[in-house]
Amino acid sequence: MESPSQEFARTYDAFVDPLFRFCAWRVSDRETAVDLVQETFMRYWDMIVSGKKVEGKKALLFTIARRLVIDHYRKKKTLSLDDALEDTESKDLPDPSSFDLFETGAEGRRALEAIQKLKPSSRQAVYLRFVEDLSPREIAQVLDISSNAASVRIDRGLKELKDLLDPHSHGTRF
């Protein structure tokens, strides 16, 4: 029988890096990203303590992380709540020069830059699907949109991404 502490540790091990990457991608600053990840897990533990049955850990953790990122930007710029929820997604995405934060090879860098070029409303959906393998349903939960809307954003976004990364239909590499 696993104790709650062991289960929490296991969850931490499984998701700390994906969450860190996501937060780093959104806020372009390592220290802030670590801070947000810490806060995410603290909130998660709070939910465990309060006795809430936790299903779908992955989606839940990313949901918490995304909300904390929004809060972070809200505090920084004192946007109104509506602004924060809607425009933040498009206004405050990191600029490509901050990808030095990402210790990633050339292919990865290309992909991240390409994601930046997508429509603002698709970016997060594509990132979560492409990089962290969340299901459309999980993404719907994280982004607080309907399942259908999520699928549309993902499909459209992935197609755009493929076109950007591989403009020649027969996959000529340069």
């Binding site: 104790s3 929490f8 810490q38 533990w45 465990i48 303590v49 990865g108």
Partner: protein, 244 residues
């Protein structure tokens, strides 16, 4: 085209926290768990732990975490796991602090060394022995053997000093374990695991075996040094005796 995507994802996933960062972060979360146990809420003066810049953070974390559920859960942790930081940075220092004599401290170093070797063995069996873990293990082996030797020296000195005061039959006769024997005990286990592992794990175990060989030979190296020095000393002694 699919091939490129997989590489891109693999690349991006290389961005992650180091073992150290993960451990540090998890230590704070462990303290948070202890402050908010599942049974009952606790008002706590330890809240400052969660601000990144506090200088007293780690001492406070140790205090909070040391005897709780998290510490318990940590005993089985391996390098690379969040709880491992609690095992070696909270649990072990506390146990170390509870050994008071040079002998006890030397014994504790041996026990820590054995814990490291068991971790190596378990990691290799699970195929999880990576470069970061290897570096940590080599460093730990060096440290535990070195510290052990220092405490053994002190133990000897203490015995010498005690002899001057206490008649020999009353001196404690307890024989402390031999670190080199313990190291030998692990050799066949490592060999066995090596034979069953993949190339990467084999390579890593070999590095550990090499490190252990190095440690096994340290005494010979030290004796060679001593012999060069002591042969002078003993001839001087003889002359002195002859004289009287």
């Amino acid at each position: 085209m699919e091939h490129d995507f997989k590489k891109a994802v693999t690349d991006i996933r290389e961005t992650k926290l180091s073992h150290k960062e993960k451990g540090k972060l998890f230590a704070k979360l462990s303290a948070y768990q202890e402050m908010h146990p599942i049974a009952a809420p606790a008002a706590s003066p330890f809240a400052f732990i969660f601000s990144l810049k506090s200088a007293y953070t780690f001492a406070a974390i140790i205090l909070l975490v040391a005897t709780g559920a998290v510490a318990q859960a940590a005993e089985g942790a391996l390098p690379g796991e969040a709880l491992y930081a609690v095992k070696v940075k909270v649990n072990e220092p506390i146990r170390g602090a509870l050994s008071f004599t040079a002998s006890a401290k030397a014994e504790w170093e041996i026990e820590k060394l054995e814990r490291r070797l068991e971790e190596v063995e378990r990691l290799a069996v699970e195929g999880k022995f990576d470069n970061e873990a290897l570096a940590e293990m080599e460093k730990s082996i060096d440290k535990h053997v070195e510290d052990h030797d220092s405490w053994k020296e002190k133990e000897e000195k203490d015995r010498e000093n005690a002899k001057a005061i206490v008649p020999a039959p009353l001196l404690p006769q307890k024989r402390t374990a031999d670190i080199d024997e313990k190291i030998q005990e692990h050799k066949p286990i490592l060999e066995d695991i090596k034979s069953k592992g993949n190339d990467d794990q084999k390579e890593k175990i070999e590095r550990i075996e090499k490190k252990l060989e190095e440690k096994a030979n340290r005494k010979e190296k030290n004796e060679e040094k001593r012999e060069d020095g002591s042969s002078e000393k003993s001839s001087k002694k003889l002359d002195h005796k002859k004289g009287s």
